[in-house]
């Protein structure tokens, strides 16, 4: 199903391509992805945990038949982990080896700050590929503002300056996907630069379709009941509402247990798939599992 970016001429191609990889997407998200490919603008995806934000980048890379370069953000992420780092050991070794040999010091400095001593980290790697990769900047809200400012610079100029070498221009522009869980409000400038897409929890119908696509062996009645339960649990204001992965786990678990029909006991046994915190499980039990099952 892999395509050349030029072959992606309309939304249907994207919808079908994603479906083929097992990702169910609506036309709105397809439009955003289409614009990402066509206009080369970064796409910022926000949404609750577990609605398939990261997956978009992975499937997109598969669709475009290109490499996925992932940068997982965390507090304290810095340039040396995200962009580049000098290989100090190798540099020192080179200095020792060249001790006493001929050659001006200028030359030697240029040598040890050459490309062979440079360790490329995700961001630098993403702009130095001949075939444009998909760059996934995951959970950008977790990185601090200094890094956000740097990212902004990269996304506007697509070049990185390395003081010892000069600036490195992009060989090709990567397709950039940023995801955020909204633990922190991102800077206005960065948001301005991006297309924005909010992925909500799926509707009942869409979630059923996802279950059908991902777990084709699951029985229809069982999936319908299970999805109904998850949809109700999501409305319960838990600390961590279940995402799509949880739904799939839940259906899979029920299927594996071979319960003839889904009842209170079966749900109670598999509650750990839906919720992973003791407080939330207690809250679900308090609300009454039988209430979740009635439609």
């Amino acid at each position: 199903m892999a395509k050349n970016p030029d072959q992606v001429t309309d939304l249907d191609a994207i919808v079908q391509g994603f479906h083929a990889s097992g990702y169910v997407l609506d036309r709105a998200l397809a439009t955003s992805i289409y614009l990402l490919i066509r206009l080369g603008k970064p796409l910022l995806i926000e949404g609750h945990a577990g609605v398939g934000k990261t997956e978009v980048a992975k499937v997109l890379a598969a669709l475009l038949n290109t490499e996925l370069i992932r940068l997982q953000c965390y507090e304290g992420l810095d340039i040396s982990a995200a962009v580049y780092e000098w290989n100090y050991q190798k540099q020192l070794l080179a200095i020792k080896l060249h001790d006493g040999t001929e050659g001006s010091s200028d030359e030697r400095v240029r040598h040890i700050f050459g490309p062979e001593f440079l360790l490329e980290r995700p961001l630098l790697r993403s702009i130095s590929q001949s075939n444009p990769p998909v760059l996934l900047v995951d959970e950008v809200d977790r990185a601090d503002e200094a890094f956000e400012a740097f990212l902004l610079e990269l996304l506007s100029d697509f070049q990185i300056s390395i003081p010892e070498m000069g600036s490195v221009k992009a060989v090709s522009r990567p397709y950039v996907v940023l995801t955020s869980n909204r633990t922190r409000e991102l800077g206005d400038a960065l948001k301005r630069r991006c297309l924005y897409h909010w992925i909500d929890y799926p509707t009942r119908e869409k979630e059923l379709e996802i279950v059908r696509t991902r777990l084709p062996f699951a029985e229809k009645e069982l999936s319908e009941k299970a999805v109904g339960v998850v949809q109700k649990v999501r409305n319960m204001k838990l600390a961590k509402p279940p995402g799509i992965a949880e739904t799939l786990d839940f259906v899979h678990a029920l299927e594996t247990l071979q319960t003839a029909h889904i009842d209170t006991a079966a749900v109670e046994q598999t509650l750990g798939c839906i919720s992973k915190s003791a407080e939330d499980i207690a809250a679900i039990k308090n609300a009454g599992i039988e209430n979740l099952l009635c439609s």
Binding site: D10, L11, R27, A28, T31, S32, Y34, L35, R38, L39, K41, L43, E46, Y88, Q89, L92, L93, K96, D144, E145, R182, T183, R184, E185, D188, K191, R192, L195, Y196, H197, W198, A239
Partner: protein, 368 residues
């Protein structure tokens, strides 16, 4: 879509609280070109992706798009109460009769907003009338978020004092021909400070409670280890209630959790409850302890002093912020306040948004 229509649409969105510049209009025009051969709904989706920058705008967009196509003249601002500074300024501008005109972003901020902004952020919270309330809340949210995020960065930096562990550094250098590439430090990576907030919600604090709650919410959003308690005659843990990101949601939950709003004040007893139940778990040398109260106490001052001493021994810093302190001529002579003073590291006003934003200074002022 005709470029002129797009310009009109962007202006329409701006009037409805969207924060759009000329570049965004260009972006929208670019998008119509890219989506030339697609259907109308694709254009709507494309505009939404290009012109929204937050979930709040995202949610409001579809209705606005439709009402624009229908030709509805001027609906009222739709955006919900959020931390969006854009919305705050749009609101302020609206109040000053600026709404229709197209202004550059910088202009709106400085020209129209300045005096109201000044008045609201420096004025005593209890003097502010109801009309200004919404604008005030937005300004507060913005200032709080800014000051608090700066604070969390400063504290992180402040924790970075550590001693070189020469032995391990040299040992690590052996494999590298005696060059010290990795420096090892004597202490482990310092923990981030925890913050414990005790918020007075008794009757005398009424004019301030709501804003202080917002302040606590902003703090809690920024510090992963923040624990917030409300008290009047007894102590209630509202940490969980304040957890929703959405401030309206959080405030609703707090109002459900706190049963004794606007009651009397027993600071000493509330603190005793805290010391008995939570102190062991929450207080340590990297804890900052913040009390937000006016110090009108109906309990026994000696008891308050005793409990405060217990807290003081355990935490890094004890800060008391008092809304009354901002008033002219106020002296902390109530018995409770007088009894508490010896144990405080910082005693500071909390009567206005600006003074609350000073928290940063208080917490970083002393190296301890």
């Amino acid at each position: 879509m005709h470029p002129e229509t797009i310009v009109d649409f962007c202006r329409f969105l701006r009037e409805n609280g969207f924060h759009l510049g000329v570049l965004d209009t260009l972006k929208a025009i670019e998008i119509t070109r890219a989506l030339r051969y697609q259907d109308v709904s694709a254009v709507q989706h494309g505009f939404r992706a290009a012109l929204c920058t937050s979930k709040e705008e995202w949610d409001a967009f579809d209705a606005l798009f439709e009402s624009f196509l229908m030709g509805t003249p001027k609906p009222k601002p739709q955006l919900r109460d959020t931390a969006q500074p854009a919305a705050a300024f749009a609101l302020i501008n609206g109040m000053r009769g600026f709404s229709g005109r197209e202004l550059g972003r910088e202009d709106t901020k400085t020209v129209a907003g300045a005096s109201l902004y000044e008045r609201l952020s420096k004025g005593d919270l209890s003097d502010i009338n109801r009309d200004d309330q919404a604008a005030l809340e937005r300004i507060a949210q913005k200032l709080f978020n800014r000051s608090v995020s700066r604070l969390s960065r400063r504290l992180k930096m402040a924790g970075r004092r550590s001693m070189l562990d020469l032995r391990r550094t040299i040992h690590a250098g052996i494999g590298r021909g005696g060059e010290f590439i990795e420096l090892h430090y004597r202490c482990r990576k310092p923990n981030k400070p925890a913050l414990v907030i005790l918020l007075d919600v008794s009757g005398s604090m009424n004019p301030y409670s709501m804003l202080l709650l917002r302040f606590a919410h902003a703090l809690q959003k920024q510090f992963r280890r923040t624990y917030t308690f409300a008290f009047s005659t007894r102590l209630i843990d509202i940490t969980a209630a304040l957890r929703p990101r959405d401030i309206a949601d959080a405030l609703k939950r707090v109002s459900e959790a706190v049963v004794n709003w606007s009651g009397g004040t027993k600071i000493g007893e509330s603190l005793e409850g805290f010391n008995a139940l939570y102190a062991k778990k929450l207080l340590s040398r990297d804890t900052l302890f913040l009390i937000l109260s006016d110090g009108w106490d109906t309990g026994e001052p000696a008891r308050l002093a005793c409990e405060l001493r217990t807290v003081r021994e355990k935490v890094r810093k004890l800060v008391w912020m008092n809304p009354l302190l901002g008033r002219e001529g106020y002296q902390p002579t109530t018995r409770a306040m007088a009894a508490a003073l010896p144990y405080l590291d910082v005693f500071a006003p909390a009567h206005s948004i600006a003074s609350l934003a000073q928290l940063e200074e208080h917490l970083c002022s002393m190296n301890s």
